[in-house]
Symmetry: C2
Subunit: 712 residues, 2 copies
């Protein structure tokens, strides 16, 4: 942020109450647009449906009794869920009040808020279930949840503000909101000033409260941190939490989560201080962040489950409903965003939601424009990044994700150069995601499970090389945070889309270079996934390269001999202790294939190595005393002792199983004769046949003008 910007900012912050007469509501739904939104709720199907759902929630709330329990339980427990329900009800009733004009909804919100105001200050400053003392909440076990509560509740208050008598407003503000802000900014000052998604929820809670209560000081500290220096606070978060491409270093799951307070607060800033041009801040960083979030998903809507991620999260998630609506309505997003909004099946009942629903009703929707792209990581965009290669239509897309990003802070996994591969609407080579039963109290209070650390974060849980059965950086997050892979090359267009990156710090004295590509050849209707993984060292190591597959193995070039009479864990630590080792088979000629049937299609992975290798099959589940792990299966290319090793694999997507007419076609692969020709520091060369046609691929690691070459 340059000096001039700072001056402008300070000026606006100090003067907000002078510049803008206070109007309510004035965040997602604004006084000036109420009439239009009301009309839209009867006219445009998506808005109508969204409002009806919200009104049904509000009506259900009104039928029940207001219940404000003394804070007591951890995540997922009764008091936790009740307070969550309460803020949802406050927001639903606030919206219902604005659209219907019926006083009963406003009365409910008022009564609820007075109820909280009567109790809040009696509750201890430390929640009884708090686990980390500097992250304790007051209403919930974590300060994070208190901030989320406030972001929602203050919007509800704004929506019914005009319907509450001044005396009651005074009670609510002084006995509830001011103490809540005090708790966030003082008792939880550390969180409030953190450059972290918890910090974003905190500053959004305080900043929104500042606007609604007309307290410029709240807004100023929200924007610039407790000391108003700008070293922390919302703007610093916008500067530091996103890469210039709008990537959030913790990964797509947390990116989605982090987005909500960013965009709601931005919308409020834009209402109250339009001159700040917050949407244009840092070259439209918010729009980029929303776009990057959408591009970090597969066509089935699921986010790439990199780092700690709950896997059934999709772009239908509420946070992205806000993001998509605002990006489209106010940030100049394209009409392909309407495709996402349709998939979401709802809009925010708001000015933005009106525009989205109207334009959908008018048939402006275009298919979402999934792209192949490289998304840089790090505040300056120079800490590696995420490569995304796509091939095919939105109906049947191949997608390769290559993680050459940095560690990703506390939620990062030790998954340097990991790849994920999707096809046909499904995961082909997948990531375990996080080990967590979110919000299920009987499972460690709904929190991350111990196996998140012992399994999910470990290198072997990913589709990347493990050296000597240890994890990258010996699973030390602080060390890992200091390094990021070096991206050698990226091309996201043409018949050979490719990304290549190098990691030299994960294991001492081992240099890893991975090059993954989607390659189209005229003989095949789908692209080939080409993967070249080179490990180099001065001394000998064991190199294991797992492919975490879905489905069932239907064929292999060699006889797989699973242990039939007993299973043992594959190792003792770094995640191997959680694997049952099913088989270890040597592969004649260091080359072979495995065919997997997955979601009615076949995937044949042809592989070869620069020296002898064996294939191990493994299943997740060992050393799991509390049955915390999900199932999962891998085939692992393994070289037990060598200094340099190159693993090459070609995965062909082929054939079709039609269970309705009971036909199978193309169950055999069209690829054969994969052969490594040479592999060295400068170059890797290999050949293979497709339907009898010989192809050769050369990778020139140091030649960006001719990085990868396919010859026939």
């Amino acid at each position: 942020m340059n000096y001039l910007k700072k001056v402008v900012l300070v000026f606006f912050c100090i003067n907000i109450s002078l510049l803008h007469a206070q109007k309510h509501p004035n965040i997602m739904l604004t006084k000036d647009n109420i009439a239009g939104v009301r009309e839209g709720c009867t006219k445009y199907p998506l808005l109508q449906k969204s409002f009806e759902q919200m009104k049904a929630d509000a009506d259900k709330a009104l039928q029940g009794k207001i219940y404000i329990p003394v804070p007591q339980d951890g995540g997922g427990g009764p008091s936790h869920e009740q307070h969550k329900k309460n803020y949802q009800n406050i927001l639903a009733c606030g919206v219902a009040y604005q659209i219907t004009g019926e006083a009963k909804y406003a009365a409910y919100v008022k009564d609820m808020l007075l109820g909280y105001a009567a109790q809040y200050e009696k509750w201890p400053l430390k929640h009884p279930k708090s686990k980390i003392s500097n992250q304790t909440g007051r209403i919930f076990w974590q300060i994070l949840n208190d901030c989320v509560w406030q972001v929602n509740v203050i919007q509800g208050y704004d929506l019914v503000y005009d319907a509450i008598a001044p005396g009651d407003r005074k009670t609510i503000e002084n006995k509830l909101f001011v103490p809540v802000v005090r708790f966030i900014t003082q008792s939880s000052a550390e969180t409030f000033n953190r450059i972290h998604n918890h910090g974003t929820w905190a500053v959004a809670a305080v900043g929104l409260t500042g606007y609604v209560l007309n307290k410029p000081d709240y807004v100023e500290i929200a924007l610039k941190g407790s000391d108003k220096s700008g070293k922390s606070g919302y703007l610093a978060q916008l500067d530091q939490l996103f890469s210039p491409d709008g990537y959030y270093t913790e990964g797509p799951y947390y990116q989605r989560y982090a987005l909500l307070p960013f965009v709601i607060f931005a919308k409020a800033i834009n209402q109250y201080q339009p001159a700040l041009s917050i949407y244009n801040y840092r070259n439209n960083i918010l729009r980029k962040a929303i776009n990057t979030s959408l591009q970090s998903s597969y066509t089935n809507g699921a986010f790439f489950p990199i780092n700690d991620a709950i896997k059934n999260k999709t772009v239908e998630s509420g946070e992205l409903v806000y993001g998509v609506d605002l990006a489209y309505a106010e940030m100049g997003g394209g009409e392909d965003l309407l495709d996402v909004a349709q998939r979401q099946g709802r809009v925010v009942v708001s000015d933005a939601g009106l525009k989205v629903a109207k334009d959908i009703a008018e048939g402006k929707t275009k298919p979402f424009n999934y792209k192949s792209l490289f998304i840089s990581d790090g505040p300056a965009g120079n800490e590696g990044g995420l490569g995304v290669l796509r091939s095919g239509t939105n109906q049947d897309q191949q997608c390769l994700v290559f993680k050459a990003a940095s560690q990703g802070m506390g939620h990062g996994h030790f998954d340097r150069l990991n790849i994920l591969y999707y096809d046909n609407g499904s995961e082909v080579f997948s990531d375990y995601g996080a080990a967590r039963f979110i919000n299920i109290e009987s499972k460690n209070g709904g929190e991350y499970l111990p196996e998140n650390r012992t399994w999910a974060k470990q290198t072997v849980a990913h589709n990347t090389i493990t050296v000597d059965k240890t994890s990258a950086f010996k699973a030390n997050a602080d060390v890992a945070q200091q390094y990021h892979p070096e991206v050698l090359y990226f091309r996201g267009e043409g018949d050979i889309q490719v990304i290549s990156a190098k990691e030299e710090n994960a294991w001492k004295g081992v240099s890893l270079t991975r090059t993954s590509a989607l390659v189209r050849v005229p003989e095949l209707s789908k692209a080939l996934l080409v993967d070249v993984f080179k490990a180099e060292s001065a001394v000998q190591h064991q190199y294991d390269l797992p492919f975490w597959y879905n489905g069932y193995i239907t064929d292999a070039s060699f006889k797989i001999n699973p242990d039939t009479k007993g299973l043992k864990p594959a190792g003792e630590k770094y995640g191997y202790q959680h694997l049952w080792l099913n088989s270890t088979d040597s592969v004649p000629g260091a080359a072979g294939y495995i065919t997997v049937m997955n979601n009615l299609r076949f995937y044949t992975t042809h592989f070869c190595g620069s020296s002898a290798l064996n294939v191990q099959l493994a299943t997740i589940g060992a050393n799991d005393p509390n049955m915390n792990l999900f199932g999962g299966k891998a085939f692992i290319l393994s070289q037990p002792s060598v200094s340099d090793q190159t693993f090459i694999s070609l995965t062909e997507s082929h054939g079709k199983v039609d269970p309705v007419v009971e036909t199978t076609s193309g169950a055999a692969s069209s690829v054969s004769s994969l052969k490594l020709l040479s592999s060295g520091k400068q170059q890797t060369s290999f050949s293979f046949d497709v339907k009898g046609k010989r192809y050769r691929i050369d990778i020139h690691y140091n030649d960006k003008s001719n990085f990868i070459q396919l010859t026939k």
Copy 2:
């Protein structure tokens, strides 16, 4: 069949050529209705879409070269798939010819048939891949496939008949169809005269050919068997293969498959010999069979996978498109069949399909009327049967299936008194189905795998008691075929829906009585699954009662201690050899619960026993050298040594996980204090609490007027 019927039948058979001038086409699509169907193809969306799909297939066929390989491969192999493709193309082109009137489609069929005619007689009478010599095909490895081929091809021929020159017709008929019929009726006389679904395909192939080629003799033997005695053939099959309720003893998967030749042939009979009133034969047995087939499915469309069954088969299956269209258009089926047709998303391009598509377009569809019902088994309806209990709407239905049917011939499983349980669109307690990768040649040629016998058919693979770790009837199908359970009671309505049945022959000296019910109590929104399984013997036995669950265990009343360091098979034979034993835990007080999270909902099974019991967890996968088995998990209630044992369980469906908003509610069960009060020959009594309210259930095994009683 009474004497008069026989006389009438013989009369009509002999006189068909005299009574009806030969018209073409005259099976699914008839000359008189062509104009209407043509118009309908442009007017009614479902017919239009179905025709467009068929025409696209026909056009694709025309773009390729006709290829008639010498028979060579087993199921799923290239020549197998090509011949399958050929008959599909013949039928598609036949339909395309009738609707568009374009000669090119007819020419394709003619060329293809002449091609076959030029080769057919050169092929050996025994297919090189034939495994069972009296079931060999000539075009395919199995005679069954040859018959399916002919059923399709003869329809295609009928459709283009008028466009083929008489000389070519003669060649096709004499060099292809007559030899095909000769092969079916003579070389494969055993299959042709079998009372079995293979026999139905055979008689349909021959009968349809008889009508189209105007060969009354073919029709007569098709209807009454080779010797024309009526002891075999189509009518004998209608008499013997279905129970009076239209149940086909092999189970829903084969019922669906068997239906197609039954209904197509019936349609032809109705066209050529309407006076036979074939649709009304045996009290409308065909309509009943179609209806029973649909009622043998869950709301997700999947057939109950009883006996050998491929699990992803649904009512969308092509056979049932024919069945539903004909049942609706010609057999007086109700408008709720249109709901099924909509789900199928297509109709047969035919007279019947026209009516279905038209009525759907006119908005006549009613939701499919899923019923609770008892479906009798056996030709006389006195060999047990299938109990189906349902509760809730089509959108969120609980469904309990209770197998008290007979063995089910060669495809039967040793699953006496097995239950399946569905809820929320998903399997809760499921059946493994068949061990088979259908049509995947690398998997035992696409045929049943050895594990179908060693695992899938065995008792322990089902949700029913296993005695002394052996299977029912020691897995001897011939012995098992002689016995069926005795149904004690069935009630499919009211707040207590229940079925009870007894099996006394499966294990010597052991009497098994199971009573399963869906019980509604006012405190809960969903019914409780109540299951009372009583085993009685004069001597001590081990009784194991597995529940094959889907999802993940999230809670239990006792500490589960899984083996963390190694797994061993649970036994040596009768399927136990395929289970990895994960844990064995004794349960204090012989009572406890296990909670499973499955598809965003929770299922808590409270259980107790009349004597001490332990709970074992097991996973499918041991002794599987060729990796032929799918995954699966069970908790097993086990009593190692006792003469009489009663297992009682109550499974509550509760709560909700919403991954989009990340909320969880109702994760804890509302049921508690399950207690067995007494269990004897006459009566079992137990009590339990729901939200603090005490309930008591008494089952009076010998009192049909008061079989089950719920008191508060």
